[in-house]
Symmetry: D2
Subunit: 363 residues, 4 copies
């Protein structure tokens, strides 16, 4: 079940970049959640925004359709199938490249693993477009989490080495959607946008770092020793193409701190035990500790670039050079923000159902 | 099945730090692997070495026993149960702390999740001692992988901010076991050891970074979109207590590179397609690409420190201060090297069986 | 993942009887299988035939569509989504019955489990129509199995107490599709058909027994102690609505035999070890023994009957009586034959992939 | 994970008939269950009783030991490992038979699947002794279920063609443990015992039918379409060696009834909706309906008989004849009663946890 994720709130992904559609089946969603196509559409549109303005990326309406699991405006407890159709497809460029794996891209491993049967058009199953399914499922997950007060956010914290200054939760909530890079720091956002534009003009691309935050997660989600909150979140984040690193709280920075610096002192606030700092990123021993969950994912620069790069023709086994043409984002970080948010919501939903925090039928 | 990992080579962990034993059940090991207690013991002893010299850590013989799955010196295809007994136990210090969660430790979340039933002695299920089971399973996994030429290594690359200089594979193989911090750079190793000693004397602790490497992994292991090599490895690494970050190849560094810098150019070597650099860490699109798999995990400093820290008595709900006494490593990085190596081997074994690279019965 | 079945060849079912469509996602199908919509359509049409002639059952074109996983006429290794659209829907009768659970039907448990959110139209997820998805997946599975010479058959062996006489494999192959009850014994078939007709005229219904057979299954499929061939087949058969019993080989009859009668003596034929009888139904210790796999499933009579029956109005909590109107088969056994065949094929496919009998990429 | 069963209350079986021990790991047991070794021992002893008097079967003390998961007399939420040691072992007879598969036994398939690595001693993993682990886990499950008022029973309803007369629940509770065949009908019990004795004297064996009953199961357990109560129970029952058939309620008898006879009319009793008959065996649409769950399993006659039978020497590939010597029950039905009861309890526990009927921590 390589294409399924989650034990209790299980998503199954299908569809290819240039196939008929991108789809997701959600199994395990409680009955009784009021949800409409518009609720999903709003979230899915986030994934399209942002970098949109900066790039010549493929434009799709991406109108969402429900195929099952909804009756009278509510979930029924049955599997929910959600679809967006692929239109506006031009696979000609991929025909040209089908024996020329793009450096840095999954082309090569896909060719080797699936051989001549690999659906290479638009990157097939390895396209970032697959994450449209994650975002549809994420919209359902976020709605479920909101029932128990859990809020999930994500924002760009770094692009091309340009780091956003730390911002308050309110600023993150308010500013993130206001600029084309989904960054809470408007000054950095401007610089990031210009850097992306310039990289694009140079036929190059940029990477960055996205931070996901979950608020009001109660103490106790996560199941050691293997089904930890960190472990399951990390596994899910790595399903986003281009993610090469995941950290929680102080993360790699923790490796350079002393215990006395990195340990979060306990205190009492409003009758509840809290920690004064959050180096743990809200997770201790794989279990949520009631503080905000903070995860950061490293996104590598888009491998498809216009600059010429050395590759090998897998048929002729001769060295070749490849300059990728067509509609590729010079930086996918802004669009991936909605995906990080979705993956965070989906995984928390899974743990919330597992822990009985969410009911099987919503009254 | 929170305590099970892997779909094809499945390990199930049981036992507590101060219970009768630490155990692991391996399900899915092919029949016909020649293996002895000594094979396992050798690997398990690695976990004990290293920091041992530097600390007053608990000393156990940790003699391994097979309980099942072995007949006439070979695996039978049946579940293999491996055990080490817990001896030399002193739980008195934990009685003192049972209402005082150690800052930075899983004590708090364990207390909250399992209530008064939590086995707090020695950290119970949240103790690093649980990883002894991972190492026993890792020894079996490494032996299996060696049948198809896959070699798995791990070494300390950073402790307390002291970074090892890059070393060749030969140096890593040769030097790592030669010093008490399991570092391939002897000069850095000396500095790391002194830093650990000093931190210990200050009642403090240090974290660090461990690198795991797998060589000769053929192209094609990993199952997108969710059961990716990176995702499943990351999930498994986060089962090691104190791990707060995982990255592959250029990892978080990729976020600061341009596509033209981070993409690994393809080339031909000895008739095979290789990449000239390995920023991908041997994994593209979640699938191994034939290059060395390179993962790095960030280990936070040991939370149990002798320095006094603020905490809260969960019974009285009053602020307290806690100085942890007893046998705690000032840095667990050196001992965790064998665990990282084991987790890497276990997960690769799972994928190798899944891909049919390893047979169900070894001839 | 209640709506997913299988570990290696995994099917995920979605859709409702009166929703937009019935769908199935197949994950784990090897790349390189040549398959067309027509291949699937042919199998799916079997499910519609038979009782068709005898009943006023809902008539659907049930034209199958591929949504993903097929490229250039071959499977790609990606999830295959298959759909049939629901048309010709009239839910008015179900509106009338929505507070009146049909005796013998899942209406009651569905109402109680999912409350007012249950999609009751046409039985929703509990309709026999859901099995159309199983048959689509079964068609793919049968094509895969045929690559390794495995043949899967099913036929009606009893309806309304009328038992077919034992028939040879050739007769089963030849006769089963030739009559409206899918029975290999033409004489019994005629009686069965008349019994169904009469039951229908009386406003009543009949049950029966279906036998599934798999030929040329090599020795060694099945994974004790829990993932046995019998266990996984039985679990899968019970997903067919109305199945209330499953047995293998001599089955319940074995309970009345002596060991000396029930044990199958070993012998040698064409250099291979066979058994002279097949009371084991081709399965010993949960593992295939190379003989034909023989399973029988008991199908209860259709609960939806025109005769008046006592029920309870779940809203008013008053006793009521219900005579079910509309298009219900007086016996679903003939239509379920294709479903039994499909389930058998799907489960064997799962074990064949698990055992490495089928490759991940078909050359 | 062939040796694991259950998603929420997961048991992992290890150990062989003539290995060191038989063990079971229970993962997912709620914290806070008061349990002692004696609680388990009492249930485990049931498996040994009964036929004991009738046979020369292996005698073991089977003293149970806890290895993990228990602290201060309560479960902790951590995996519980339970063990019985194997003593009183004599493998000489198995050495004699190691190339001579016993007709009707798993010897042949085990030899073929695992080759020369198969642990054939005492039947290895295919021995009925493995079920001692199921009974240990069943004892924990029954204790959990008792917290929510669910009672689980099993009794022999047929041996060697001798059927017990139907008995009331009170008689089943009272009589079952009173005779050596675990039958609620004392008259039939006497006949069964004599039939077993005679079969044993003739060097032959008998099979039979066991009925499992679960009382006070609330409406709503079971997860269609695949994780049905019937499907998961059937899968679990088939893990008991010698089981060849499983049916629920009227089972195979339903195939011969009309809808008007087999449908259970609804009625109201004490303000709750009940059915007047229980042909459904307490399960409709795969979901419990509040009535007693009734399952019957067919147990084939013990394959190991003293009568001479034709077999094949798998090394020489020559026809041979085999008369099995040693301590084999002439009928395992009486001992399997405790196993059926255990499997029923374990599976219901899984569904009870899944449905949130049992908490994760028992207050």
């Amino acid at each position: 079940m390589d294409n399924s994720l989650g034990k209790f709130f299980t998503i199954t992904s299908f569809g290819e970049s240039h196939g008929d559609c991108i789809g997701i089946v959600i199994d395990g969603c409680p009955a009784g959640l009021a949800i409409s196509v518009d609720d999903i559409q709003r979230e899915a549109d986030k994934r399209k925004s942002g970098a949109r303005a900066l790039t010549t990326a493929r434009r799709e309406d991406d109108k969402i359709e429900f195929f099952s699991g909804i009756f009278n405006g509510h979930t029924t407890g049955a599997p929910i199938c959600l679809i967006i159709w692929n239109k506006n497809i031009d696979s000609s460029e991929y025909d040209r490249m089908k024996d020329l794996p793009r450096p840095g891209h999954a082309d090569f491993t896909a060719m080797m693993k699936y051989g001549r049967f690999n659906d290479f058009r638009g990157g097939g199953r390895f396209s970032g477009r697959i994450t449209a399914g994650f975002v549809m499922a994420g919209a359902v997950a976020r709605k479920l989490l909101s029932l128990v007060g859990i809020e999930v956010l994500a924002h760009t914290v770094e692009i091309g080495g340009i780091a956003a200054r730390p911002k308050s939760l309110d600023e993150i909530r308010k500013n993130t959607g206001q600029n084309e890079v989904n960054c809470a720091d408007p000054v950095a956002a401007g610089k990031m946008a210009r850097a992306i534009e310039q990289a694009g003009q140079e036929g190059d691309s940029l990477g960055g770092i996205i931070e996901g935050i979950a608020l009001n997660v109660p103490v106790g989600l996560g199941e050691p020793v293997f089904d930890t909150l960190e472990g399951d979140l990390a596994k899910a984040f790595f399903a986003i193409p281009a993610v090469k690193g995941v950290e929680f709280g102080s993360g790699f920075g923790a490796a350079r701190k002393k215990g006395s610096q990195n340990n979060d002192p306990f205190a009492i606030k409003a009758g509840k035990i809290i920690t004064l700092t959050n180096n743990a990123g809200g997770i201790m021993g794989g279990i949520s500790n009631g503080m905000p969950i903070v995860a950061r994912v490293a996104v590598k620069p888009t491998p498809s670039i216009a600059k010429s790069q050395p590759t090998v023709n897998i048929k002729t086994m001769k060295i070749a050079s490849l300059a990728v043409r067509g509609r590729h984002d010079a930086c996918i970080v802004p669009r991936a923000v909605a995906v990080v948010e979705s993956i965070l919501a989906i995984t928390l939903c899974d743990f919330a159902l597992r822990a009985g925090l969410l009911p099987r039928v919503i009254k």
